[in-house]
Symmetry: C2
Subunit: 182 residues, 2 copies
DNA sequence: ACGAATTATTTTAGACCTAAAATATTTTCT
DNA sequence: AGAAAATATTTTAGGTCTAAAATAATTCGT
């Protein structure tokens, strides 16, 4: 079998390279995490200093602002990728501050519908404007084409993640079904 | 004044476009956050199921594993980008489980030096191997060139973030010095 | 119709995280 | 040397987060 001739095998790769070496993926993940943490920490800090509020509250209000008719606890928790119980807790704070309204749905009394109050909407809009500027300022070192490219690659990443997570969930379901009938 | 002729102005852009519209940066940030949250949630879940441990503990042990001589509380907190108090708390759990050792430095008794115990090192190595596989599995939808490109663009992002955060911190310092002498 | 399964939310117990104050130690300045 | 400033860590108070159990309401299958 022919091999490509003089290509130096260990130019970049470690001597310890194994059949399945996934160091690059790991380094990518760590860098992704670093970027997210840096941004998150900075935004938390500015929200606290300028608006005396927190990121989870801001995020929750952002979801409600996008919806005119209100959202249920479950919808919000799915959107924010946090637990139901957490939404209940964060909403409790926003209710106390008069920024959010909560009432049972007319048709299904299990469901709680959350909406921004007028005050909440005003407060959110003011914060959102600043927030958008902060993010732009943080990304100022990237030009337009880099932003677009990064956005696209993260789209690919998101797809990859959903596929991998979906695969695992269907495996878990299969195991559970197996257990039921065993 | 001449304008470029027939370029359709509002092909993609919103009618509400303002002098400084930073929607792209915002969308980029939200997508970045989504990817990070998806990965983090999945890894948390697997660490719990397979090893009955948590991500903060794993991350802390990962830092200690990289150092042969041990690290101080401050070094760890800087590396992990968390508060000192948080390191104290997470270490308390690891100490209780016999995975980490803590002792004052000989030269400077303010400093606490953290090291993995033999048991801690063994436990971490086993987890790290699996962890690397999980990350690779999650990223499986990206080919090598996409991984490299993404890594490079996130490097640019990191630089941009450090610059913006650095600028803000020197401004805050200047304000503080101003206040001192005012 | 009515009991069982399902669905939506809240509660609980416990871990994590931060900022700010408190504590302990070292260094610096006179 | 000794007071003051600086440094490293811990403590405290309070918000965030999760998983799992509990509660409440609806739907499904007979």
């Amino acid at each position: 079998m022919d091999m490509p001739a003089a290509q130096p095998l260990d130019r970049e790769s470690k001597a310890s390279e194994r059949p399945a070496d996934h160091k690059d993926e790991l380094r990518l993940w760590l860098r992704l995490l670093t970027c997210t943490t840096l941004i998150e920490t900075e935004i938390r800090s500015r929200l606290r200093e300028e608006f005396k509020t927190t990121l989870p509250r801001f995020d929750l209000m952002a979801q409600l602002d996008k919806s005119t008719t209100g959202m249920t606890v479950g919808e919000v928790s799915q959107r924010l990728m946090v637990s139901n119980g957490n939404v209940t807790a964060v909403v409790a704070g926003l209710l106390a501050d008069g920024l959010v309204d909560k009432r049972p749905a007319a048709q299904d009394r299990r469901v709680q519908v959350l909406t921004l109050t007028a005050q909440g909407r005003r407060a959110f809009r003011a914060m959102a404007e600043r927030h958008e500027d902060w993010v732009a300022e943080l990304m100022a070192g990237l030009d337009q084409s880099e932003i677009v490219q990064l956005f696209r690659l993260l789209g690919q990443t998101k797809t990859s993640l959903h596929e991998a997570i979906g695969r695992r969930q269907s495996q878990a379901q299969a195991r559970a079904a197996q257990g039921d009938t065993a």
